[in-house]
Symmetry: C2
Subunit: 450 residues, 2 copies
């Protein structure tokens, strides 16, 4: 029977990073994966969607680039080629993770893990023993029990990545990040898209001014807010609108993106505390069983790929490291890769109000920025918001809506993590011309002293 320092179950951005980091420290590590290396993120999430969105953005640019001097005739979108590109990207990355495991001497086993006890996992008939166990089993799309929810034209976010033709119409149930990214994608390639959201606004991690601007900028997407889906029919969706009237929407396809649920099935023998949102963990990502850690979506703390990876590092530091880190959630960025993009890090105004934190905030229109104007023009919408503590002037939130948001936001994570104040950011030199300069502009608007 093989003995390991660490057994990791699940090879998504939580599991494979945990295995990699432990391997790099010279530990004997086993990684168990029932499907493909990389988990949902690599195979049905972050990566395939970004592959497709990039091509769709280029398609949109080709259609709308005349003002910049671009001439193009018969612009079209070939879904088959786009899907082949996506698949090639996914397989390359999967291969990259395999290589990373090998180079860090991580042993990988494919198959369903059966948890026997906190030190024992079986795959098929083979028994593996480990000093430590990391549960990184992820989450799955939640399909609510709506009549008609199992009809064949109702797809989850996994399944919609395999459509073979561009649908004429698509109804997306749920206006969170996944719903909005698919809305943007399909609307860019010519599908008539409707998003039905039960709450009175989309994208709940954003302040309402950002969500409203996002709806405005997602041209061609029809949003139905405050609406409750009653039934999926063979031809579309029946819902009750915000005024209580019944409506019937025709739709070729329906995407169910109302949320995800932690994959906690099969963990029973570990006797873990499991709450409503997943496996209960402390700040060290340790469960109630001392040698068992739970990271990523399965603990329900922050359902983001990069949160899972950071949790992996924190868990490994606590298990094998020279530092004993704790997981902090105050500077985790998020990004929406729609067109336009959005990203944020730290507190929103709404969240600050809810928690009773006294803040000052300034929001700048992106069209005051040189690069934004040069590339988007004066009629395009975009926002930058900087939020600081009223008391200390420490930056506690940065929010972006517009081009490059997803690649600018890491700097916000850095300044929030480093607890820089408004006056510190005012002394940072931003490159000109760049959209990022707006962050400095917002800081000067909050405090124009020198």
């Amino acid at each position: 029977m093989e003995m390991y320092d660490l057994i990791v179950v699940g090879s998504g951005p939580g599991g494979y990073v945990a295995a990699e980091r432990a391997g790099a420290l010279g530990k004997k590590v086993l990684l168990i994966e029932k499907g493909f290396l990389g988990g949902v993120c690599t195979n049905w999430g972050c990566i395939p969607t970004k592959s497709l969105l990039n091509g769709a953005k280029q398609h949109k640019h080709a259609l709308e680039g005349e003002r910049f001097g671009l001439e193009a005739q018969s612009v079209g979108y070939n879904l088959e080629k786009a899907m082949a590109w996506k698949q090639d990207t996914v397989e390359t990355l999967r291969g990259g993770i395999g290589f990373l495991m090998k180079s860090n001497k991580v042993e990988t086993v494919f198959g369903e893990a059966i948890f026997v006890d906190p030190h024992t996992v079986k795959v098929g008939e083979t028994v593996y023993k480990g000093d430590f166990l990391i549960v990184a089993t992820g989450s799955s799309p939640f399909v609510p029990p709506i009549p008609g929810g199992k009809l064949s034209h109702v797809l989850t976010s996994d399944e919609i990545l395999s459509v073979e033709k561009v649908p004429a119409s698509l109804t997306i149930i749920g206006g969170g990040v996944i719903g909005v990214e698919f809305a943007s994608y399909f609307s860019m390639i010519g599908t008539k898209v409707t998003v039905i959201e039960m709450m009175d606004e989309i994208l709940p991690m954003m302040d309402a001014d950002f969500a409203k601007m996002m709806r405005r900028e997602l041209k061609g997407v029809n949003f139905k807010l405050g609406c409750k889906v009653e039934e999926v029919t063979p031809d579309g969706v029946l819902f009750t609108d915000a005024k209580g009237a019944k409506q019937d929407l025709e739709s070729e396809l329906v995407l169910m993106s109302v949320g995800r649920r932690p994959n906690v099935g099969g963990l029973e023998n570990l006797k873990l505390d499991i709450g409503r949102s997943g496996v209960v963990v402390n700040e060290q990502l340790q469960t109630n069983i001392a040698n068992v850690y739970a990271i990523g979506d399965v603990n329900g703390k922050s359902l983001l790929a990069h949160s899972a990876s950071r949790m992996a590092e924190v868990a490994i530091s606590n298990i094998f490291g020279t530092t004993k880190q704790r997981m902090r959630y105050n500077a985790i960025p998020w990004a929406v890769y729609s067109n336009p993009e959005a990203a944020g890090c730290g507190l929103t105004e709404t969240e600050a109000a809810k928690r009773g934190i006294a803040i000052k905030s300034h929001t700048t229109q992106m069209r005051s920025n040189g690069r934004f104007l040069a590339e988007q023009g004066k009629r395009a919408g975009g926002l930058v918001k900087v939020i600081a503590s009223s008391e200390t002037n420490v930056i506690v939130g940065v929010h972006l809506l517009g081009p490059y948001s997803s690649e600018m936001i890491w700097g916000a994570a850095a300044i929030i993590e480093a607890e820089l104040r408004i006056q510190d950011v005012k002394e940072i030199v931003f490159p000109h011309p760049s959209v990022s300069e707006l962050i400095k502009d917002a800081c000067f608007a909050l405090d124009h002293t020198l």
Copy 2:
């Protein structure tokens, strides 16, 4: 005669920011501009080039997007429309600066400033007096005394922005940032481009590995390194190549981009110390005349628009502020907006070696990154380099070559300014998938402990 707290001469990114910041502090400010508000940056530099480059990138995408699913026929480039877009952008921004001056109660006068003495400036017959004077007169393209250098097909970077048709061929003399950006632009719109550089590598602010990769990725641009231009002829350029052989290159247009010189003409009456690279200033940007400050290209310290703006803030803090800041040059980012982009901040390996600073450095290929692969593919080149002090682990340099570089680099300026160490950056959460994650990867490669 009008009396001012401050007279600023030159309305580029140094001068207009100085006027704005002083105005915001309630000072009575006069801004004198002989041409257009915004100076070279807004009118013949940063902004028009970025407007054109964006359109050219879209043209290139439309030509090469088939692998992403894009279909387009008869792809072409309409220079007239591109130029109109560029002009509209420039005029909008000029208008924006005018608005900014009004809203900060800055008085603006158009005309050539005649410096009478350190407190007195004339424009035409009108005399203006100021307690303080900021010289922000910028720089001009240097045209070396080469035979044929004044022929009509030899253009400076100002003049090439007004070409009326796409040239069949263009020879660029000088492979610095300006030369490379125009090389990228014209090669993307179909011109046959040759860059002749006297040194043995282009882009001297980069390490050689980056410059080499840039040359490789600027497909279609022919680089002639270590070559000395002897003469411009009516049909092209005569030069001596690296082996000492004479060569004759046919070229419809020639761009002279060998450098810029500070505009120090007319300053005589101020009796300023003027060195080889411009007006001599101390760390406060003060000249040898106590009430006269010199900021931006005219002092030759750092010929970048955003350096000028930062110098404006430092000068105003020293003149009117509650803080007395000094100008620091260690965390000023630079960006090249070619396709691919590049950007950097802080020390290169070359510079560290020259200064005898002990460093550790790691360079990562961008193709190990999910987003890069999804958008560029596995054959594209891109690099991320992180440099830290061997002694303290403080990050002293970050260098990027690849998409989004210009918008990611502000975070590097922030971490260098905040003196974060490798282990601090490892604890920052970067959004997934983003190219920016490579910065964290490089930090883990430098130190994989946890």
